[in-house]
């Protein structure tokens, strides 16, 4: 069975989707700084900090924004271990691999050690790699904190409040729901196939099996969409989507929004090269 690696890894991926969703929904319900804010403030505020991290050209400023992101995570009860495993290590590995060759390939002045040895690393390459990793780490931390502290439905409502077309909000909501249904169906199909498999499937057989599973899943998806359409019609849906928006901004929300935007603008301004 060791040869059938694609199957278990697909199952693990599907299971991870459920685990992630459950953990995020759980965390989003806990009391905390970001959880107490209006979702629109969270969305606009965190986005402005991400934008500031992109606009800043100084490593120190980006590092400052990273500290802000970590502080937001701590005050919102997001565990640093979660961030370390889900964001920092992954980004360091992925962006590190991408950024490493820049040390040698970026044209510029070569670094010289105190003993006079010329290293094959350029100053420009080093700065570029550090800047890239710092920026990606900061942006990914901010985004993850937003994702972990905001229930999906609240995020959708804030989209509606921000004038995203109702059809798009509706499709986002439906897709989110069906992702889990289809992931569960796919997981069950793979699991049942794995339980009936004796010996090792060759790669071609595994590929055919994955294609057939995807085909059956597609048929089920289309069937599901027809059922949903009929259900929508039976409830009087005529193409006009309505989303309830009950948000009410409090003084604390306004203050927080001003604080977010001020920090973002200040970081972008100070971080100019």
């Amino acid at each position: 069975m060791t040869g059938n690696r694609a199957l278990p890894s697909t199952l693990v991926g599907l299971a991870r989707t459920f685990a992630h969703a459950l953990a995020a929904e759980d965390l989003a319900r806990q009391p905390g700084l970001l959880q107490s804010l209006d979702p629109r403030v969270r969305l606009i505020g965190i986005s402005s900090l991400v934008l500031a991290a992109l606009l800043a050209h100084r490593i120190a400023v980006i590092a400052g924004l990273f500290v802000v992101a970590v502080a937001l995570a701590l005050f919102s009860h997001v565990r640093l271990a979660t961030l370390a495993v889900r964001v920092w290590l992954v980004v360091l590995l992925f962006t590190g691999i991408i950024g490493l060759p820049a040390l040698f390939l970026t044209p510029g002045s070569f670094l010289v050690t105190s003993s006079g040895t010329v290293l094959p690393i350029t100053l420009q390459g080093l700065n570029s790699a550090i800047l890239l990793i710092a920026r990606v780490e900061t942006a990914a931390t901010l985004t993850t904190v937003l994702v972990l502290t905001t229930p999906w439905m609240a995020l959708l409502k804030s989209f509606r409040a921000l004038r995203v077309p109702p059809e798009v909000v509706m499709m986002l909501a439906m897709t989110h729901r069906y992702v889990f249904l289809l992931a569960e169906t796919a997981g069950q199909m793979f699991e049942s196939r794995q339980s009936r498999t004796v010996g090792v499937l060759d790669r071609t057989a595994q590929r055919h099996m994955a294609s057939r599973t995807a085909g059956v899943l597609l048929s089920k998806s289309i069937e599901l969409s027809n059922d949903v359409f009929l259900a929508m019609q039976s409830r009087g849906f005529r193409g006009d989507a309505k989303v309830l928006t009950e948000f009410r901004m409090r003084a604390f929300d306004y203050l927080s929004l001003i604080a977010f935007v001020t920090v973002g603008v200040a970081a972008a301004w100070v971080g100019r090269s």
């Binding site: 990606v136 999906w152 077309p165 059809e167 509706m170 994955a210 289309i222």
Partner: protein
């Protein structure tokens, strides 16, 4: 291929958001004007299907594994407008709910993977499949090639977006501020993996899905088959209307061709061997190469190969035309006419082959 936050400059992100916005607006308008109520759940479920499909690890020849995007099957079943929306929604959920792909780069990711891929997949599938029967093997081959091209087109777009960063955004000391590699590194680095793995994965899964649908539910392939029966559920707008728009666009582009004369200097690398020996030509080459002096004489390969073929209309300027603008326009009309004739001949041949097969 999901570009995270931090790799692209804010201005690149803004431009790609605008590009993606145009695609979203067009797709949404088409969907809304056509058959909103049925398509909304269909697109949503397809977005969910694409999301789940991205988790399928597919064993590929050579010992590696890859995953498909699902954009090609979405283009084949839903048409390009539906596919653009479905894949964009899947990407938005990945970015906003799972933190996979950035918020600022969501426009870029949707532009590459939803819009460019959908259009390339649809065009390639329609051209290659031609008028073949729904259960024809040619449709399976067309789907595989369309999937391969679509994923690689998206990867090429991402590579170009990465590659232009160090050229456009760097400090006075030459430190690249975003993705650090220029085009000549970014393009091969990005394309090797996609040409060898991701494109093959998309091709394999799309071919498998089309083959499955041919045996299980071939009606789903009807919408983009180009056959007469597809009209009630096909993309809105009659074919004649779409064709008229296409012709108007082509005519407008033809009229705009003399704009090329306004560009100062010569395009980098498009030099004749003789330009290396004349002082004016050398000045032009230096101006196009950031004042780097050209070699003393033309490279040997250029000298050897430049005599093999002499173009009938050199420099887009037919000898019998005095005005450069008219020459440009005539060259554009001639080139477009050649392409249309070639396309018509290929289409006729493919249609004949398809008729022979189905008959």
């Amino acid at each position: 291929m999901h570009i995270p936050d931090g790799y692209l400059s804010p201005s690149t992100c803004a431009v790609l958001y605008v590009g993606a916005g145009v695609g979203w607006y067009g797709a949404l308008r088409r969907v809304k004007s056509a058959f909103t109520t049925r398509l909304i759940p269909l697109i949503s479920v397809f977005a969910a299907f694409s999301f789940v499909l991205m988790m399928f690890n597919l064993p590929l020849p050579g010992g590696t594994t890859g995953h498909a995007v699902g954009v090609t099957i979405a283009s084949i079943v839903l048409g390009p407008a539906g596919s653009i929306l479905a894949i964009s929604i899947a990407l938005a959920i990945q970015a906003l709910f799972f933190g996979d792909g950035g918020i600022t780069t969501l426009g870029a990711n949707c532009f590459n993977m939803a819009i460019v891929s959908s259009l390339v997949a649809y065009a390639a599938y329609r051209i290659i499949a031609g008028g073949a029967a729904l259960v024809s093997r040619r449709r399976v081959v067309a789907a595989a090639i369309a999937g391969y091209l679509a994923v690689n087109a998206a990867a090429l777009c991402a590579a170009v977006e990465f590659g232009i960063q160090p050229m456009l955004f760097h400090t006075a000391q030459g430190v690249p501020l975003y993705a650090p590699y220029p085009l000549h590194i970014a393009i091969p680095a990005m394309m090797i993996g996609h040409l060898a793995v991701a494109g093959v994965a998309e091709a394999a899964i799309t071919a498998g899905l089309v083959a499955y649908l041919q045996s299980a539910d071939s009606a789903l392939l009807q919408r983009t088959s180009g056959g007469p029966a597809s009209s009630p559920t096909s993309e809105p707008g009659s074919p004649h209307r779409s064709l008229r728009r296409l012709w108007l666009t082509v005519a407008l582009l033809l009229l705009l061709t003399p704009l090329g004369i306004l560009v100062a200097g010569t395009a980098w690398g498009e030099w004749k061997a003789s330009e290396f020996s004349s002082s004016q030509g050398r000045d032009r080459i230096a101006a196009a190469s950031q004042q780097q002096p050209p070699p003393d004489e033309a490279p040997q390969g250029l000298q050897r190969l430049s005599t093999i073929w002499t173009a009938p209309l050199p420099a887009y300027a037919p000898q019998f035309v005095k005005s450069r603008s008219v020459g440009y326009l005539l060259s554009a009309m001639f080139g477009t006419g050649l392409l249309l004739t070639f396309s018509w001949i290929v289409q006729s041949c493919l249609r004949r082959v398809a008729t022979d097969h189905s008959g």
